[in-house]
């Protein structure tokens, strides 16, 4: 369960997120939609305790993200938009690193290399991997501890169509098994295809949050944004 109560975040004079409240229940695949710069990444960072809200509160699985960010991060999986795995570890070592940081006693890194089809890259330094392969690695690190909740910032960016399909299927399957996914994207087709719920964030404000409307999401989204722009 993800709860945000009136959270805002300002960077200097810029208000990146403005008084947003939302709830995401167990087993939902929630897509936070919005154009570039609308505050989606800031929202994910606040919900995962990576940064603190300027005001308001957020909790994940009942844990206050401000009070115990490390506990939040140990429970959830996060795929940040920009971060890369450490340059001088190999792909295999990186997954070992994450597993140990998460204090996992049993884990199977090979499963991920096979699933995402990059087993032959296991011993290569992360800095020498292609962007797409690094993204696969980031996906593996986020799900390898079988988290209750996963936060994903632009999940399918840099991936080839085959890998995109694999990831989409994995995410849908993860949710079917009771997991919760909160992801941000500006690619509406993906949201249309897999989301059960959506939120529309525009210029830091949440203009819609609820079940994904039936019908064309693109039309719905543009209508909401147009409406928000005229406010």
């Amino acid at each position: 369960m993800i709860i945000a109560k009136s959270i805002s975040k300002s960077f200097g004079t810029t208000k990146a997120v403005d008084n947003v409240s939302l709830e995401v229940g167990k087993g939902q695949l929630y897509g936070l939609l919005g154009p570039n710069g609308s505050g989606k990444s800031t929202m994910i960072k606040m919900l995962t305790g990576q940064i603190s809200p300027s005001s308001g509160h957020a909790s994940v699985e009942g844990i206050d993200t401000q009070r115990d960010p490390i506990e939040v991060r140990s429970k959830v999986g996060i795929i940040p938009e920009q971060e890369n795995p450490p340059s001088f570890l190999t792909a295999g070592e990186y997954l070992d690193f994450v597993a140990k940081a998460r204090k996992l006693e049993q884990y199977d890194t090979d499963k991920w290399f096979t699933l995402l089809d990059f087993k032959d890259q296991k011993d290569i330094l992360c800095k020498d991997l292609s962007r797409g392969t690094r993204q696969k690695l980031m996906i593996a690190q986020a799900f390898m501890h079988n988290p209750a909740v996963a936060f994903i910032d632009e999940p399918l960016i840099n991936l080839d169509p085959i890998s995109q399909n694999t990831i989409k299927s994995y995410i849908v399957d993860f949710v079917k098994k009771g997991g919760t996914v909160f992801f941000s994207t500006h690619v509406l087709e993906i949201a249309q295809e897999i989301c059960t719920h959506i939120g529309i964030l525009y210029k830091g404000k949440l203009h819609f949050s609820g079940k994904r409307p039936k019908g064309d999401l693109n039309t719905f989204f543009l209508k909401q944004v147009k409406h928000a722009g005229s406010d």
Binding site: F11, K45, T48, Q50, I51, S52, I70, E71, R73, S74, I78, I79, P80, Q82, E83, N84, P85, P86, S87, F88, L89, T90, G92, E93, D96, F97, V98, K100, A101, R102, D123, I124, L125, D128, L129, A142
Partner: protein
């Protein structure tokens, strides 16, 4: 071309002001002026140690070295920016998708570096030296000769590093040949041409100081080639079975970044050799201070920069999405810095053997060096967290560092003259440092890091 240079300069300015803040970055040239002025304190000693011409030669070499560093940043800037800002890209790289030839972009980068760093670095040095010549009548720097010779020295540094980087893009073996060739050329000339021009403003010397740089830049542009080698380095898993996760990861970073031996030589051994040489002469004129002790003080303070090496591979962002506390990351880096303290220990042992000092002096010197080492480490942690290589360019941080770092060695030096038995008080620094490290690590744990 003019527009491209203008945009490159704007980009360089914005990069620096984004990194350090507009106001703080404006402070940087002022700090350079103040540091040059501070050097005036050493002028009487330098005058005793060496001839004025030797001092000027060293000054020209230092300026050429600055040129080397500026050029090196130009080459590795992209990698640095990626690490610092994630998706950041520099104009000199993104311009490759524009209808501009690589050669043209490269030439623009060279001109930009010369203009920009002339204003930000050379001008403050020149202003500082001008003020010294006004304030200290004993100092004879002929500014009319020094300004052009200093620019030529800087240009030579930039030209050499750009040329070598282009050779490197073609072949690593060729790089060694080129480096040897440049060394041989200077050996043939027998002097440093910009300095020769400073000493004697003749047309021959001007040509000698100018032509090599222009030839190197022209050859760099002519043979320009983007380094497109995408080697994939493979390694066996070294994390398996290791319990000390962060420690092992940092050791892997140090080992695989291939900077180890080079860094020890260039960042520690060479500067300490220079300090050794300097202090040896200094002690001749100030015999009340024991040489080994004085060297140990410098060794302790300077060696604490080892912490900077270890922090080069990480950003806060790399840990922000994992259940890892920044507090633990910093403490691990402190532990590694302490482990790498064996390098200054070896230097100290070599110095002690060479000096054949009494056991008491060796003991007091070793204690002082170790105490100053951990104190320097603690202050670096407190002020810069995981980003010393970035924050030390911040004028405010640098000033705070100097204010905190200078008093303990000064007090110890004074104690060594008047009451050496009290030097054991240096042990207080161990305890103090422990608290500062924990305080600093907690401070960075609680700080919100947006960019690095």
């Amino acid at each position: 071309m003019r527009d491209l240079i203008k945009y490159l300069i704007t980009e360089e300015w914005r990069t620096h002001t984004t990194l350090f803040g507009s106001f703080l970055f404006v402070l940087f040239p002022i700090i350079v002026i103040l540091m040059v002025l501070a050097m005036a304190v050493f002028i009487p000693i330098i005058n005793l140690m060496m001839a004025e011409s030797t001092a000027m030669l060293i000054l020209h070499l230092i300026i050429a070295f600055l040129g080397l560093q500026v050029g090196a940043f130009g080459i590795y800037g992209q990698e640095f920016m990626q690490r610092r800002f994630g998706h950041a890209s520099l104009l000199s790289y993104s311009a490759r998708i524009l209808p501009l030839s690589d050669r043209k972009i490269f030439l623009a980068v060279v001109i930009k570096d010369i203009l920009y760093y002339f204003c930000m670095l050379l001008m403050p040095i020149i202003i500082g030296l001008s003020l010294i010549t006004i304030l200290i009548p004993d100092v004879h720097i002929y500014l009319r000769a020094f300004v052009p010779s200093c620019i030529l020295a800087f240009l030579m540094g930039i030209a050499v590093v750009f040329f070598l980087s282009i050779v490197f893009a073609h072949s690593r073996i060729l790089l060694l040949v080129a480096a040897a060739g440049i060394g041989f050329l200077f050996a043939m000339i027998g002097d440093f041409p910009p300095f020769m021009f400073y000493m004697e403003r003749s047309l021959t010397n001007l040509l000698l100081a100018t032509i090599p740089s222009f030839i190197l830049i022209a050859m760099s542009i002519w043979f320009f080639k983007v380094d497109e080698r995408h080697e994939q380095h493979r390694f066996k898993n070294q994390l398996k079975g290791r319990k000390d996760l962060l420690f092992t990861k940092d050791m892997i970073d140090l080992h695989r970044s291939r900077g180890g031996i080079g860094r020890i030589i260039f960042s520690l051994l060479l500067p300490m050799a220079f300090i050794w040489f300097f202090l040896k002469h200094f002690v001749e004129y100030l015999s009340i201070v024991n040489f080994l002790f004085l060297f140990s003080v410098f060794l302790g303070v300077y060696s604490s920069s080892i912490y900077n090496w270890i922090c080069r591979y990480d950003t806060y962002g790399q840990y922000s999405y994992l259940p890892i506390r920044i507090f633990s990351v910093i403490l691990t880096k402190v532990r590694i810095s302490l482990a790498l303290g064996t390098i200054p220990i070896i230097i100290f042992i070599a110095a002690a053997i060479n000096e054949q000092s009494s056991p008491l002096v060796v003991l007091l010197s070793a204690t002082s060096a170790a105490a100053l080492y951990v104190y320097g480490l603690a202050i670096t942690v407190l002020l810069t967290g995981l980003a010393p290589h970035i924050l030390f360019f911040n004028g405010k941080v640098l000033v705070k560092y100097l204010i905190l770092i200078i008093p303990p060695p000064v007090i110890l030096i004074v104690l060594s003259v008047f009451a050496p038995q009290y030097l054991f008080l240096a042990t207080i620094l161990f305890v103090l440092s422990w608290y500062i490290v924990r305080w600093g690590a907690q401070h960075w744990e609680n700080s919100e890091q947006q960019l690095f």
